[in-house]
Subunit: 290 residues, 2 copies
């Protein structure tokens, strides 16, 4: 175990632990639902003690919401443009020499503020692992979809869109909920939504789904796919156009929807492995602080 | 009571009854919560019997959701362009010679369908009463905000935006709910939202409200007002621009927010009385069918 250490991607709901060898190889990993919402404010030391009991008495480097005001320690954000070196410099040791946390990143553009905690490690890792070039647009779809513009290997700027949360709100609580049966799929109805997103008139297009059902005309097809296409279509069209290339860090299902929308607007999408990106990124930070 | 009759604006949640004299004057009215959601499918005849017991044994003309599949009778929609004459021709007598219902209106533009039931009477009435010109843009804010383009006194086309419903969803069920304290007001923060709506990037602007709170920078001010400004701003910017004039049928509170947004984009807004418009519209229909 010489040179071995532990990395933890510690989010709001989930947690993933990696045992990493000196050469950067992942030798073991586990995923559980011990995200910060499942841990009491004073429970973090016991959590990492449990992890060491399973993986060995190793040094731990964490990233994600564990570094927020609801986590183990509230670390200030590193401003954009943010490099691996800047993150490493701002790492906080919560157990001296034993356990450290990587900070999040922030950006300010006019009145708009944006923040991330955890995604910055994936973004920087994707570039350092060669999964994406040093100058690239990266996309992390999800409840809060992040788009980051990498310049010279740093996070130059980024924007978070509530795309996934809006889809969930409409699916669970709106007039349209009853129509949104089954999961969205990247077929004809999804692409119709992406096309209709071009006019930017989201809230009128949404009511159109209702009117389509009321009139019984069926012009819209599968409502969940169409609405997913509308929302992802608006998101994608705001970020890129014909000829642009985006690197998407997501599983095949959600990544497939984003890829279909990106291609529909004339862009190109490459799906990359977000776990590999995380491991590469946190290993880069590790090498700068150990 | 010679020549007197009853008009009912019978919506989903509320109902308003007007006793109208032969000359079109309202001699009595009442508002209650006996909208169609409070009435059993076979309960409508008893409802109008109760109304006649209070107002007199008069002929009744209804409009609104009472003419839907969840109401007393499911009337087909009249297509745009829709005139008072077309509505009058499609009136359905549910109690022959005693009680009739005015149909709703529909429009189809490409894949988009739209429908209204009840608003058409207000729209046509606003013009016939001289509250708005025969060629005008009319706006009916609410849960589902309707915008109608009147041409030559007819409803030429219209669009419904889920603006109010999205605001309610975000206020009740989203990550931003806790920040949205108190009602929206048409001040600086609302106008900042209207301004930020210009880039069309609603879901990123919404996440910005969260990031503003997390970073503690307070760049956004009163979140409810800012978010209301964003949503109404997107809605207004889709419909009109500098120099355009909209006639808004709404109460002073919601109408005031729409007026502020319309003026912020360089348009002009006139608030008009939606009850007066309804009475004028249904009186026009009445005169054609009696």
């Amino acid at each position: 175990m010489t040179g071995q250490w532990l990395a933890i991607d510690w989010g709001t709901t989930n947690r993933r632990v990696y045992a990493i060898a000196a050469d950067g190889t992942v030798v073991a990993s586990e995923r559980d639902d011990r995200g910060i919402l499942s841990v009491a404010p004073d429970g973090y030391a016991a959590e990492v003690a449990d992890i060491r009991a399973r993986f060995g008495d190793l040094t731990i480097l964490c990233a994600g919401m564990v570094g927020s005001n609801r986590g183990w320690a509230d670390l200030p954000y590193v401003p954009c443009p943010a490099s691996v070196a800047a993150l490493a410099e701002a790492v906080r040791w919560v157990e001296p020499g034993r356990t450290a946390i990587v900070p999040g990143v922030t950006v300010a553009e006019g009145r708009r503020r944006d923040v991330m905690r955890g995604e910055e490690v994936q973004l920087l890792g994707a570039v350092s692992a060669g999964l994406a070039p040093a100058d690239a647009l990266l996309c992390q779809p999800g409840t809060h979809c992040k788009w980051a513009w990498m310049v010279d290997g740093r996070i130059d700027r980024f924007v978070t869109a509530m795309t996934g949360e809006l889809y969930a709100l409409i699916g669970k609580h709106s007039l349209l909920s009853a129509q949104m049966t089954g999961p969205a799929a990247p077929g004809t109805d999804f692409l119709a939504g992406v096309a209709d997103a071009a006019d930017g008139d989201l809230s009128a297009r949404l009511f159109g789904v209702r009117a389509d059902a009321v009139t019984g005309e069926g012009a819209i097809g599968h409502a969940a796919s169409y609405i997913s296409g509308l929302l992802i279509g608006v998101d994608v069209r705001e970020r890129l156009g014909a000829g642009d290339h985006a690197y998407v860090l997501a599983d095949a299902t959600l990544g497939g929807l984003y890829r279909a929308a990106i291609e529909a607007v004339g862009g190109r999408a490459t799906l990359i492995d977000s776990q590999a990106a995380f491991v590469a990124g946190i290993t880069q930070v590790w090498r700068l602080i150990r």
